[in-house]
Amino acid sequence: MNRFRDTGHLLRFAALFVIAFAVFLVIRHFVVPKTFGEYGHYRGAVMAEIAARPVHFAGHETCETCHADLLAAKSAGKHANVNCEACHGPLAKHADDPSITPPKLDTATLCVRCHAASAAKPKNFPQVDADQHSGGLPCETCHQPHSPAITAGGAK
C-alpha cells in the first residue's frame, strides 16, 4: 500500500496534461478550417473559392451566339481558327451587357503583332515587313481582318 503513498504529484501532473490536451482540442476546433482534410492536407473549400473568380474572356462560343454574320465571314477565310478574343481582347462584360461597346481596335499594332516578319517564326506563317509591304497605309485598306485574303473585287 505504501507504494501509492506519494502519487499525488503524478496525478496533478496527469491532470495538467489532460487540461492542456483539452485546451489544445478546443483551440484546434476553432483554428483549423472546417473543410481542412476533406480531400487531402489542404482546405477543401478553396477549390470552390478559386472556381468562383470572375471570367474576363467570354469564349468564342459566346460571341458566335450573336455574331453569326461575322462568324460566317471569318470561317470563309484564313482566320477561321483564330478566336474572336485573340484580337478583340477580353469581352465578357460586353457579352453580359451588349450596351457596353468593345474598344475600337488599332490594326496598325494588332496585325503586326502576329504578322511582322521574323526569322524566329514558323516558315509557313504569313509574315511581312510592314513598312515595305504597305508604305504606312493601314492594313484594312486592302485586307478585311475577318477574312484577310485580297479578293478580285478589292476589300469590302
Partner: protein, 244 residues
C-alpha cells in the same frame, strides 16, 4: 455483389464522403463528382508558336496578374550549332508585346517556347509547403490557397520551372491556376482562347475522346526536365533538347 473484406475497407472512405449527398437524394452533387472525372494538362505545339504574346496578355487580363509578374510567359531560343548546350534565350517583358525581329542571316535556329505551371502530378512545390496551402486538386490542377499561405516562398524555390512568385500586394504565393474558374465551367483557359494559331490546347487526360491521345501516339511529345520526375502535364510537341 460479392465484396471481400479488403475491397469493402477500400470503399468505406469513398462511401463516407458521398453519404450525406446520398441521404439528401442528390448523389450527383457529391463533392468530388466532377473533379474526379478530369485530369487536366496542356499541349504546347512549339512549331505553331509565333511569339505574339497573346497568351501572356490574356493571362494577365484574365487573372489580374500584377505588372512584371507572369503566370505564363514566352521565351525565344536561338540555338547555334557551335554551342548547342547554351542557347541564347530572351523573354522581353515575358514576351508580352512580342519579340524583336530576328534577322534571317543569323546562324542557328530560332523557336519560341511558351512556359507556365506544369501542373505536375508529383509536384515538388506542393511537397514542401509547411502549412498545406498549396496542393494538387483531385482533377490534377496545382492550386494555392491564398487564405492559408504564409508567403514563406519555399514553394517558389522548389518549383524547378520557376512558375511561382510572391504576389507583391497579397504577399502570398501565386501561380497559374490553369484558369480553374474557367475550366470548371466548361470554358478553355484564357491563354488557349487567345492563342491565334492553336499552339496551346487544354487537354483532359481522363476524357477518352480528347484529341491528345491520338496526338501523343503520332508526335514527338516531351515534358520539361523529365529527369526530375515531376510528372509534368505540360506536353511540348517537338521540344528541342536545349530547352531548360
Amino acid at each position: 455483389m460479392n465484396l471481400d473484406r479488403r475491397h469493402f475497407l477500400i470503399m468505406l472512405p469513398a462511401a463516407a464522403i458521398a453519404w450525406e449527398h446520398v441521404l439528401a437524394g442528390t448523389p450527383e452533387t457529391s463533392p468530388n463528382y466532377t473533379m474526379s472525372e478530369h485530369w487536366w494538362g496542356m499541349l504546347i505545339d512549339i512549331p505553331k508558336c509565333i511569339g505574339c504574346g497573346n497568351c501572356v496578355r490574356a493571362c494577365q487580363a484574365e487573372n489580374d496578374v500584377p505588372d512584371g509578374f507572369f503566370r505564363t510567359w514566352v521565351e525565344r531560343y536561338l540555338v547555334t550549332d557551335y554551342n548547342l548546350e547554351n542557347p541564347v534565350v530572351i523573354s522581353p517583358d515575358g514576351g508580352k508585346e512580342g519579340f524583336p525581329s530576328a534577322p534571317p542571316e543569323d546562324e542557328g535556329k530560332y523557336f519560341f517556347v511558351p512556359k507556365m505551371c506544369n501542373h505536375c502530378a508529383d509536384s515538388p512545390c506542393t511537397q514542401v509547403c509547411p502549412v498545406g496551402a498549396t496542393f494538387i486538386a483531385p482533377d490534377g490542377v496545382v492550386l494555392v490557397d491564398p487564405k492559408y499561405c504564409l508567403g514563406c516562398a519555399y514553394c517558389v524555390q522548389a518549383c524547378p520551372y520557376g512558375c511561382r512568385y510572391i504576389h507583391p500586394e497579397k504577399r502570398v504565393a501565386d501561380k497559374c491556376t490553369l484558369c480553374y474558374h474557367r475550366i470548371t465551367k466548361g470554358l478553355t483557359t484564357a491563354c488557349c482562347e487567345a492563342c491565334p494559331t492553336g499552339a496551346r490546347q487544354l487537354v483532359d487526360l481522363k476524357n477518352p475522346n480528347d484529341p491528345i491521345h491520338a496526338f501523343m501516339k503520332t508526335h514527338a511529345v516531351q515534358v520539361l526536365k523529365p529527369q526530375m520526375a515531376t510528372g509534368a502535364k505540360l506536353f511540348y510537341n517537338q521540344l528541342d533538347g536545349s530547352v531548360r
